[in-house]
């Protein structure tokens, strides 16, 4: 008996070692490419050409100067991305919450049909309507405007779906009725009483909506042709162009600059992000 127990304990020990080795290897695999990116952003092109190093060097300033001397304006890109992502996130979470509230709090004839419809259109790929969208915006003279990248966020079916699930479990109709008796208007009730209840769900969805918009390449790429309107992902594509052909240090510097804001956001909010991913999966 004693023998079996020590044996199984030994086996557990071996298993545990394997688990840690694999997990640490995978963690390194996640870190290493970005580590090399940040390190190479500080190395000169000659150093990068001579081999791999995991320690930073001293050419950060030179790389930055070369990068900025060739019509690469990360600050402009950063602000364009910030405006688009910021406003589209506000549109997405506010109007999705409002739509979800309409689905949960009111009993209207087409409610069930509308919800079914939202489920149906949840997965329409952007590419499926891209050509028509582009041509339509072209006719409106809205290419090179930020509006077509912001306003479509008002209709975000997946966020409505999530918000509806949240409201179903959190909203008490008594509270809404109490507000009515106090003479509050319906929109006022939504803004002042329902929205505060939804803050946790809004925060989660806002992070994901923001990151998705921030990382989006396809739509900005087809709509924006003026350099001063470029978003960060489009700027990244400039790094692959001919102008930086051999300036490896600057390419890495440009990449590092575009990724940096996301690293900051991620390490500040990682707990909520991981919790949000977990929540997204069990939303059946």
């Amino acid at each position: 008996m004693e023998n079996i127990r020590t044996e199984s304990r030994a086996a557990l020990h071996v298993n545990r070692t394997i688990v840690y080795v694999v997990c640490i290897a995978l963690a390194l695999l996640s870190i290493l490419p970005f580590w090399i990116m940040f390190v190479n952003a500080t190395r000169s092109t000659a150093e990068i050409q001579s081999g791999l190093s995991l320690l930073p060097s001293s050419h950060m300033k030179t790389n930055l100067d070369v990068l900025l001397s060739k019509s690469f304006d990360p600050l402009k890109g950063f602000f364009n991305s910030l405006i688009i992502s910021g406003f589209s996130t506000i549109c997405a979470v506010y109007f999705s919450s409002l739509t979800a509230y309409a689905l949960v709090a009111y009993n209207w004839k087409l409610r069930q049909a509308f919800f079914t419809f939202i489920l149906l259109v949840m997965m329409i790929p952007a590419q499926a309507s891209a050509i028509g969208f582009y041509k339509f915006m072209y006719q409106l003279h809205w290419t090179n405007s930020l509006l077509p990248l912001i306003l479509p966020a008002i209709a975000a079916p997946a966020i409505v779906f999530f918000m509806r699930q949240y409201l179903l479990s959190m909203l008490s109709i008594e509270m809404v009725e109490a507000a009515r008796i106090d003479g509050a208007g319906e929109l006022y009730t939504f803004n002042r009483i329902v929205l505060p209840i939804m803050v946790p769900a809004i925060a989660t969805q806002a992070i994901f909506a923001f990151v998705a918009s921030w990382n989006n390449l396809f739509m900005p790429l087809i709509l924006l042709t003026q350099k001063d309107k470029y978003t960060l992902p489009i700027m990244v594509s400039l790094l692959k162009g001919d102008i930086y052909k051999t300036e490896f240090g600057s390419i890495y510097m440009g990449l590092a600059l575009t990724a940096l804001p996301l690293f900051v956001i991620y390490f500040l909010l990682s707990r909520y992000i991981i919790a949000g991913v977990a929540l997204g999966g069990v939303k059946e």
């Binding site: 739509t99 489920l119 790929p125 309507s129 209709a155 990244v236 692959k240 990724a259 999966g281």
Partner: protein, 322 residues
């Protein structure tokens, strides 16, 4: 006392209105417009009269029957998706089994989750260009690493070889998404009734048996959800192949989205061809969405409906009995 009853139902319509309007203008109309363009001869930058083709399905038949690039793009999309999805789910399942194993009690799970999920949050465009630089030839970080480890004797030109280029795109996709899948699966396991695991432990089931007989069957719905959302996402794969090698070398990483973009916006302005290809993609996504819809249809509502029916029947029966 008479109470005036107020109907609030109109607010349901009113509050849904912004969503409906934005959807009609920015999604529905563009989809219809794209579909129409697919039947026309619209091409070129300079606007000129557009006509419906004599053979309305000309663009579609052309693409499917005669356009090798398009067919290659469909095969590539499927191939890259399969190459990324199978290892992705395999690894995610393995990690899920480890992280949820009560006897192993893996420590630092929080930190591992944060690190393994990290690539998913970073801009795909940045990652694509980064990997292009990492795999550069003859002197790139990966080549130097592999050489110093003794895995290769001479630098490999990863980016010029069709197989490695495609493999790297699939790898990036795998690397960006397995953490996401893992977290979803772990959440799924957390949702399983603990009594099931206790019963298995009392019956003397080992870790493998518990995983195969309890964990895996309980994860069926979540796995299906992951499968279908991943397929729809894979269908749209654009950022990585576009910025990694612009669909090259020799169309090896040309996905359907890259093909559509190339047809419409990279000098040839074949809007009709691109629109037709979009519609084919839309059809595939619609079929997949239909599957997902059946999977996620509102169970609460259907249960409620059943309950109402039962009450009605009971009431009728009672009425008859009286």
């Amino acid at each position: 006392m008479r109470r005036k009853s107020v109907s609030y139902s109109r607010f349901g319509y009113m509050f849904s209105l912004p969503f409906i309007l934005a959807f009609l203008v920015f999604s529905f109309y563009p989809v219809l417009y794209t579909a129409v363009i697919g039947f026309t001869d619209m091409k070129g930058v300079i606007p000129k009269p557009v006509h419906i083709l004599d053979n309305p399905f000309g663009n579609f038949t052309d693409l499917i029957l005669h356009n090798t690039s398009f067919r290659i793009s469909l095969t590539n999309t499927a191939l890259i998706w399969i190459l990324n999805f199978i290892p992705q789910v395999g690894l995610a399942l393995l990690l899920t089994a480890w992280f949820t194993n009560q006897r192993l009690k893996v420590r630092g799970q929080g930190a591992f989750k944060v690190l393994l999920y990290m690539p998913n949050i970073i801009t795909a465009s940045t990652i694509a260009v980064l990997f292009n630089s990492l795999f550069s030839y003859p002197m790139g970080p990966v080549n130097s690493l592999f050489e110093s480890l003794g895995w290769i004797d001479a630098p490999v030109n990863f980016l010029q070889d069709k197989t490695t280029a495609r493999g790297i795109v699939a790898f990036i996709q795998f690397w960006m998404w397995y953490g996401n899948t893992m977290i979803i699966l772990i959440a799924g396991v957390m949702g399983i009734n603990p009594a099931l695991f206790e019963a298995a432990a009392i019956d003397g089931a080992n870790g493998w048996q518990t995983f195969m007989r309890i964990t895996l069957p309980s994860l069926k719905t979540i796995m299906l959800y992951t499968l279908i959302t991943s397929m729809i996402g894979g269908l749209q794969l654009f950022d990585i192949p576009q910025l990694f090698l612009f669909g090259g070398p020799d169309d090896a990483t040309l996905t359907t989205s890259v093909f559509i973009y190339g047809q419409a916006f990279k000098g040839s302005y074949m809007f009709n061809k691109a629109a037709a290809a979009s519609m084919i993609m839309f059809a595939i996504a619609a079929i997949l969405s239909g599957l997902l819809f059946y999977l996620m249809r509102d169970r609460d509502a259907s249960r409620l409906k059943k309950a109402q029916k039962r009450i009605k029947k009971a009431a009728q029966a009672a009425a008859r009995g009286l």
